[in-house]
């Protein structure tokens, strides 16, 4: 018995001429969070829809919680929760009724359904609005109800498609804590997001999609190390010293980036010991440095590099 909760191999999906997914493979071990990154239209939602049996796949195969999404959709659906990119709650019902309805459809008794619903309303800070119709909820409240709805059945695998879009910072932090708690309890999470900070904080592993293909996969640290770029940011004491400093840096083999007339410049570097070489070059040029800092690569750098490459 494998402990892969999501195992997709060579999955493809086309909409007419658009190849939304083209041979995507993805493996998510039990109790971990995988972040799915990618530009608009990269295929994130499509992949989530295939794995949650909302859409049939064209080619390849996938299992979720050990069940084949094509042949055993019913079993897959009884083990997952999905918060889609667009809210999927019934606006004509109250928040409470929405959750009770789902619990009942999952086989809970009236009593169990009511208990679970109030538990989740509490967790997502919606208890006060429990008896209000959802069409009176704010955007963020609807989003939170949608998230609660996907957790009603204590799913083994939770799919979150841009879960924090439209949430205020407090709710966003709250959601992150809830996700961390779920994972502590053994739940597996696949999360798509446009917030790299979110992926950095939550995801054990990250997969970057571009134009329907996986262009990078690994932990955040691995991606940063492999693809990201360390930079040294320098602010000179005087802008007049810039030309000479730039020349010295170029002689030392660096490619500094500088806007004419400014005191600041950025130097992409590879190794940690490059910092010493930068300082030496500046010393040779007799340039007085007001400020110097080494920047570790961020996921934003990784993302921009990857999506830039793919677009080129």
């Amino acid at each position: 018995m494998t402990d892969l909760m999501i195992d997709a191999a060579d999955v493809s999906k086309a909409f007419g001429d658009v190849k939304a997914l083209d041979g995507v493979s993805l493996q998510v071990p039990k109790g971990t969070v995988t972040g799915l990154l990618g530009h608009n239209g990269a295929g994130k939602t499509t992949l989530v829809n295939l794995l949650t049996t909302v859409l049939p796949l064209d080619a390849g195969g996938a299992t979720v919680a050990g069940h084949d999404v094509t042949t055993d959709g019913h079993e897959v659906r009884s083990r997952i929760g999905l918060t889609g990119q667009f809210a999927s709650v019934d606006e004509q019902l109250t928040g409470l009724h929405n959750l009770v309805l789902i619990a009942r459809l999952l086989g809970a008794s009236r009593r169990q359904a009511a208990d679970r619903a109030s538990e989740l309303l509490e967790l997502f800070d919606l208890a006060a609005a429990a008896d209000r119709k959802v069409d009176t909820y704010s955007g963020g409240m609807k989003r939170r109800l949608d998230l609660a709805a996907s957790l009603v059945g204590h799913p083994d695998v939770v799919f979150l498609d841009e879960p924090t879009t439209g949430l205020d910072p407090t709710s966003r932090l709250g959601l992150w804590e809830i996700v961390e708690k779920l994972v502590d309890d053994g739940t597996t999470v696949l999360l798509t997001t446009q917030y790299l900070e979110e992926a950095d904080r939550l995801a054990d592993s990250i997969t970057v999609l571009s134009n329907g293909q996986v262009v990078a996969a690994g932990t955040a640290a691995e991606l940063k190390a492999d693809i990201g770029q360390r930079t040294v940011a320098i602010t000179l004491a005087e802008a007049a010293a810039a030309p000479e400093a730039l020349a010295a840096l170029r002689r030392a083999g660096f490619s500094p980036i500088h806007d004419e007339g400014r005191r600041a410049m950025t130097i992409p570097v590879d190794a940690a010991n490059a910092l010493a070489a930068v300082v030496r070059a500046l010393d040779d040029a007799n340039a007085e440095v007001a400020e110097l800092a080494l920047h570790e690569p961020t996921l934003d750098d990784v993302y921009l590099t990857l999506t830039h490459q793919a677009a080129a």
Binding site: S88, I102, Q112, F124, D185
Partner: protein, 278 residues
């Protein structure tokens, strides 16, 4: 969702209680729960009242405008026009209301409620059946109120008596129920409330007038006679009328039931496919 709270009790997912421990739900209970959900719509009495007022207005207008029909060729001897008209109004009102099943489904599909159901381990046919059950219940209430209105306001009192009238009502309900599957199939493809309402108007109105609803077929010009005599609504109206007027004629009743059955099956197949489209 409070950030700084450290309430350790908030147990997001006790691993012991996964959804499968609730065991899933049977088809009957899915249909029961989903029908209950639709019933919420009845809390808004305005819709129901309007749905009764509209046919009552039609009844008023037609019973005055077409009174002369009682002397038209083919009109049954010694029958009040209201007794002739009302069974037809039951059928046409039931058919028009069938549109609401499709409209409700289209709204669900559009606003995301259905997106949630798609991710649950339930049958899409439970959902469709629940809609049609709800539609039948709403239709029963609507047509019963209409019937009471016709008796009280217009002195509807057909020769078939209470039983004949109730049988006519039942036939109208069955015809409407069959059509509701057709409209649900349309709803899964159209997915737009306004467009559904337009289709309901455009499809049902001509069928209604090109039928024997308001006047005997014999009184119509030839081309209209041709349409009216193949119009399935004419069978339903003939059947309903024969029951209400106590002049039992099994032919049109059986045809109406058969056609409704065919429409319902075809609609169910198409709706079952349509609802799966993302």
């Amino acid at each position: 969702m409070t950030v700084a709270t450290t309430t350790p009790q908030t147990n997001a997912a006790p691993p012991a209680a996964a959804a499968r421990d609730w065991g899933g739900s049977s088809y009957p209970s899915q249909i029961w729960v989903l029908t209950g959900r639709s019933m919420q719509a009845l809390k808004d009495k305005r819709m129901l009242i309007m749905s009764v007022v509209q046919p009552l207005i039609m009844l008023t207008l037609f019973s005055q405008v077409f009174k002369g029909m009682a002397f038209a060729p083919g009109f049954p001897q010694g029958v009040d026009y209201i007794d002739y008209l009302m069974p037809a109004i039951l059928v046409t009102t039931g058919s028009q209301s069938a549109m609401w099943a499709g409209a409700g489904l289209a709204t669900d599909l559009k606003n995301g409620a259905l997106a949630r159901f798609r991710t649950l381990p339930i049958s899409m046919y439970s959902l469709l059946t629940a809609r049609s059950v709800f539609d039948a219940v709403r239709n029963t209430i609507q047509l019963s109120l209409l019937l009471v209105g016709a008796v009280v306001l217009f002195g509807f009192n057909p020769a078939g008596g209470v039983f004949g009238t109730l049988a006519a009502l039942l036939l109208a309900l069955i015809v409407g129920w069959g059509l509701s599957w057709l409209f649900m199939a349309l709803g899964t493809w159209v997915r737009n409330l306004e467009v559904m309402q337009m289709i309901g108007m455009v499809a049902v109105f001509p069928l209604m007038f090109a039928s024997n609803a308001f006047a005997p077929v014999e009184s119509m010009p030839g081309w209209l006679q041709a349409i009216a005599s193949v119009n399935p609504l004419s069978y339903a109206i003939d059947g309903s009328r024969s029951l209400a007027l106590g002049d039992l004629d099994a032919g049109p009743i059986l045809w109406a039931l058969l056609i409704s059955g065919i429409i319902a099956s075809g609609g169910a197949l198409a709706a079952g496919r349509g609802i799966r489209k993302p």
